[in-house]
């Protein structure tokens, strides 16, 4: 399928919203890929972190369907090394927030192995609620 690019998309409401929530200039990213190179969780992602920014830059809303934004653990390795100072964890958060506010919920504690649930530290559950639910 050919993706239609137009000003309504690349400077459209989705891009504006992502930039507003994250406080980042999407186009500051020149796609060098250093974030993807250093991301510790990248193996579990279906899109590379730089591709997530890329899709956001182009206003591709289907970026919300990827698992990458939910796999990102906000470890901040990428922003520590980003040559352009792009705060990718904030971008990921913005995308999560947009999805969550549309009613997506990603945390299902019932699906966790009960023995694990019993053991996990409280802050993992609190953090999980903050990141994956609304």
């Amino acid at each position: 399928m050919r993706v239609q690019l137009s000003i309504d998309k690349v400077r459209g409401p989705f891009v504006a919203r992502v930039e507003e929530i994250s406080g980042q200039d999407l186009l500051a990213c020149n796609q060098c890929g250093k974030c993807s190179a250093g991301c510790p969780v990248v193996a579990a992602m279906d899109l590379l972190p730089n591709q997530v920014i890329r899709m956001a830059q182009l206003g591709m809303e289907d970026v919300l369907e990827c698992n990458t934004i939910w796999i990102c653990a906000s470890c901040l390795t990428c922003v520590t090394r980003c040559p352009k100072g792009v705060d990718l964890p904030r971008l990921m958060e913005a995308l999560r927030q947009i999805a969550l506010r549309r009613g997506v919920a990603k945390l299902d504690l019932a699906a966790l192995p009960p023995e694990l649930l019993k053991e996990v530290p409280q802050l993992a559950i609190v953090g999980g609620f903050r990141k994956y639910m609304r």
């Binding site: 050919r2 993706v3 239609q4 690019l5 000003i7 690349v10 186009l27 730089n50 591709q51 830059q57």
Partner: protein
Amino acid sequence: MNYRALVIGAGIGGMQAALDIADSGYEVFLVEKDPSIGGHMAQLSETFPTLDCSQCILTPRTVEVGQHPNIRLLTLSEVVAVESGARPESEGTLTPALSQGERGGHFRVRILRHPRYVVEEKCTACGDCAKVCPVVVPNEFDRGLAARRAIYIPHPQAVPAVYRLDPNACLGLFPLACGKCGEACERQAIDYDMAPETVEVDVDAIVVATGYELYQEEAVMAYAYMDHPDVMDGLEFERLLSASGPTGGKLVRPSDGKVPKEVVFIQCAGSRNPEHGLPYCSKICCMYTAKHAILYKHRVHDGQVYVFYIDIRAGGKGYEEFVTRAMEEDDTVYIRGRVSKVFPRDGKVVVWGVDTLTERKVEIAADMVVVAAAIVPSARSRRLAEVLGIGVDEFGFYTASDAEMTPVESGVPGVFLAGAGLGPQDIPETVAQASGAAAKVLVFFEAEKAKRRKDTDRQD
């Protein structure tokens, strides 16, 4: 002793070389094929990375060249033959020389001067002639985006500020079919009987600075260039941006005069394409496209620019920062991937490309498309190289004797190279290189003088 140099090509490179040599006290013949000097730089709107107005920084140079006591400017002229080792005592036919004195006479150069049909000394550029001329043809200086008459001046700041009659457009010179301009000219500056003239000059060194043209072959045409009025090359876009251009700096589409809201720039049109175009990189396109993006946004605040590219080549002082500015401040969307197809649809120009970073095919329905056509050497470069006995590569760019250690030396003693005739390069590089070629000329003169001193001593 009075040595003389010949500089071929009066673009920014040739002018710089001529000025450096002339300012060092030597006479320079500056030969230009076009009716006015300044080359492509005169056509530019602004220059990267400072966005200086091109005319503003160029005009002092063109005026200086035009008025320089040591520079003899020959426009509408081309070098047709060069004979080396000419007799020192010989005098060229182009007399009187600017000043008398002993000369080295290393080369005898034959120059063909095409008739201007307007006597330079008489013309005041009042424009009365053009007002009455009935013939309307595209203006080359504006890359065909505006019209001119058969008698015309390329642009208002042209040096020399003299009109020229285009014999191909004129209704007829032999016999005279119209003659209106001649009637209109109060100063009687128009001479329909002017004939081509061949002059000979003796010079001691030559700088070749014949510059570049834009590629217009298949690889560029594939992007609907020529098929669609709203698809243009970089120089056409410069004219559209220029305050002295056909629209007075108002950015509108040639097709319908509307302001384009979405503009796509296609890099490497013909460049880096060994199969269907040219294998080399044209070097300057990445930067001028970033400049176009910024200038476009200055004029159309709510517009959007897309740039299809393979690699962004911003190597140069302040260049990386400039491209960053295009992205961050002017929201230019760079798309890494080549364009495969451009075609019209519903009054738009549709661009099919790919974003290799998201691995998706993309389509943009643009209002205007600008192709960064490859830089090719001036059409006459091969012939000139033959005349001078210097080398060219397979594309017609001149070759230096050693590209790395002697980049401005042709290998023929006394013949030096500068500017985009050697290969694509930008203005500062051309200017520095032209000064470099001038230095080699000055050094060459000294060596010649020393040789002659030695000869004279021996005779004594």
